[in-house]
């Protein structure tokens, strides 16, 4: 009998703690498969954040560091600068990256740090129980904006891929989602491309993955998938936000 599918070697056998319908498991798989397929698993060092993916060090089978809240890009800078030949990535949620760690991600991108950031945007704080994130949509309810986010009170949601794209050090930024097979394949292609660009020494690479949080959105997994397509994608458009040709990324 032919083996048609195997769990990636890039993942350990630990049981995932994620809620049913959460996209973290899928995205972990895509990152793990990408590392294996590019032959980078044995060279990879990952940095996980504070948030739902705080235990990612139990799931990825490569070397891992657990960072303080928001500081993964600084930790990754310390690793990559001293280990320039290793594949280094951060895996961060939206509270971690877009709120408390905004300075760290902006400056890592500005410096053109040669690591890859996988940014999971589910428009809410998951781990702490559904509070408003900087990415929470207008009108979206959260435990700290129970009647829905308003522009007057909290401003407009932040688009991190677009923001980081304004920095010369960021050579590749793409926004993807994993709600269906077509998008999942695009997401994996983007993740692989980001790692390839990193290893080619081009600069900072950033993949934003729109993700569901059925538990804190108060929806079934299927309804959450649909809500993401109907509400998140219009505000956070999918596709390549920025891709710099390799030569222009060089410092002149």
């Amino acid at each position: 009998m032919a083996i048609v599918y195997e769990k990636s070697r890039g993942l350990t056998d630990a049981e995932l703690h994620y809620c049913p319908g959460c996209h973290h498991g899928i995205i972990h798989k895509l990152v793990a498969e990408s590392l294996v397929e590019l032959g980078l698993l044995d060279d990879a060092i990952g940095v996980c954040p504070v948030g739902c993916s705080v235990f990612a060090y139990n799931y990825f089978s490569c070397d891992m560091q657990e960072a303080a809240h928001g500081r993964a890009p600084a930790v990754a800078t310390g690793i990559k600068r001293t280990h320039p030949n290793q594949a280094v990535f951060t895996y961060q949620g939206d509270g971690d990256l877009a709120s408390i760690g905004a300075a760290e991600i902006v400056h890592a991108a500005m410096r053109g740090e040669k690591f890859t950031t996988i940014f999971i945007n589910n428009a809410i704080y998951g781990m702490t129980g559904g509070q408003m994130a900087p990415t929470t949509l207008i009108g979206q309810k959260a435990t700290t904006c129970q009647s829905g986010r308003t522009k007057e009170q909290a401003g407009m949601p932040i688009r991190m891929a677009e923001l980081l794209s304004t920095l010369d050090g960021c050579v590749y930024a793409e926004r993807v989602c994993v709600t269906d097979m077509a998008n999942l394949n695009k997401a994996k292609k983007a993740i692989k491309k980001a790692f390839q660009k990193q290893m080619a020494g081009e600069g900072f690479t950033f993949i934003e993955v729109l993700s569901t949080c059925p538990t804190n959105w108060g929806m079934t997994p299927l309804k959450a998938n649909q809500w993401l397509k109907d509400n998140m994608v219009p505000y956070y458009p999918l596709g390549v936000i920025k891709e710099t040709a390799p030569e222009s990324a060089e410092v002149k």
Binding site: N58, M64, E66, A67, A68, R71, T77, T82
Partner: protein, 356 residues
């Protein structure tokens, strides 16, 4: 050995390079900016990595990442910047990562002043971040000691897998003194087989982490840390006693005030007054057994604690060692004002009267 004239902060940076520091991450702040400035020029030439970070918070987390990957990592700052590093120091203590942190102290609280101070004693010795942890705190009182201690600090950090702080008042960072590059004691260090370097064929993945969700596991982790801190207390405590054999008044002081106290002691001895100096060199572990022993000596009538701090932060540790056996007086200034030898002479005479 030949003596060379070096500015404290630059000497510290050079000492770190000579000790095999692979990487330095820092942010400008007076009065320590010469450390990152020197590092930016000389560390890359020695094959190391220099990054000017966007903040002190980022700097200490870059240290975390590099140290977690097996590097000899260092950062330096001055008081307000050291406050910002406390998050990272706590995480590094929790994750058991070695590093060297230099605090070139200025006056506080808040922005305080850029002049020398010693107001960060509590922060350094009590663990300025969250949770139960300790860091070895070395306190030089001249540039030679600063140079020696910074080099040794890397070995101490690696031996225990723990952050080590070198804490000095800004005067020592800013002044020039003759030093010699004398060999410092080297230790047999364990291999860093725990570091995240990429698996490269290793049969397991390494994880750097300070999170223990299972309360019993977290309790056991803390117990392990405290066993380690007990070893540091036993092995790393350092102090110096000068003219204490017959002293009726013992001055306790560290850093620059200890040097001023020596001048005061000379003046007092010329008058026939028996005064000595007890100088803690490690602020943590504090040399409490040695000070306790001294407080039990019949000839010691009183103590005088002298610091560049308004409330006498180290005096808490002096009290805990003296345990009420002898009176303790305090002389201190903050905000960059240094105690004078004359003030110390007067305070020692008052202490003698009180202890008589």
């Amino acid at each position: 050995m030949e003596k060379e004239l070096w500015k404290g902060n630059e000497a510290i940076a050079e000492a770190a390079i000579r000790a095999g520091c692979n990487c330095f991450f820092g942010y400008p702040i007076t009065p320590q900016s010469e450390v990152p400035e020197y590092m930016s020029v000389h560390l890359p030439k020695a094959g190391g990595v220099f990054v000017q970070s966007e903040s002190e918070v980022a700097a200490i987390n870059m240290v975390y990442g590099a140290a977690g990957s097996g590097m000899r990592a260092m950062t330096s700052s001055s008081s307000p910047g050291i406050s910002l590093k406390q998050e990272g120091i706590s995480y590094m203590a929790g994750a058991e990562l070695p590093c060297v942190i230099v605090n070139c102290m200025r006056g506080g609280p808040g922005l305080g002043t850029i002049q020398p101070g010693q107001g960060d004693y509590y922060q350094a010795t009590r663990g300025g971040g969250n949770g139960d942890y300790r860091t070895v705190v070395l306190s030089p009182s001249n540039v030679q000691e600063a140079v020696d201690f910074v080099q040794e600090a890397f070995d101490i950090a690696d031996q225990y897998r723990n952050p080590v702080m070198v804490v000095m008042d800004g005067l020592i960072g800013q002044m020039m003194e003759p030093i010699e590059w004398r060999p410092v004691p080297k230790r047999d260090l364990p291999p860093k087989d725990w570091a995240t370097t990429g698996r490269k064929g290793r049969d397991h993945h390494n994880v750097i982490n300070s999170l223990y969700m299972d309360p019993e596991e977290c309790d056991r982790h803390n117990e392990h840390l405290w066993e380690k801190y007990a070893l540091m207390e036993k092995n790393e405590v350092r102090w110096e006693e000068i003219s204490c054999e017959d002293a009726e008044v013992v001055i306790t002081a560290y850093g620059t005030p200890a040097r001023i106290a020596l001048t005061a002691i000379e003046m007092l001895r010329e008058e026939g007054l028996k005064v000595g100096l007890f100088r803690p060199i490690t602020l943590w572990p504090f040399p409490e057994d040695a000070l306790r022993k001294l407080s039990k000596a019949g000839h010691v009538k009183a103590f005088l604690d002298v610091e560049m701090s308004s409330c006498g932060q180290m005096m808490d540790d002096v009290r805990l060692s003296v345990e009420g056996r002898k009176p303790i007086r305090y002389l201190g200034h903050a905000g960059g004002v240094m105690p004078t030898a004359e003030e110390i002479v007067d305070a020692a005479k008052a202490a003698l009267k009180e202890g008589a």
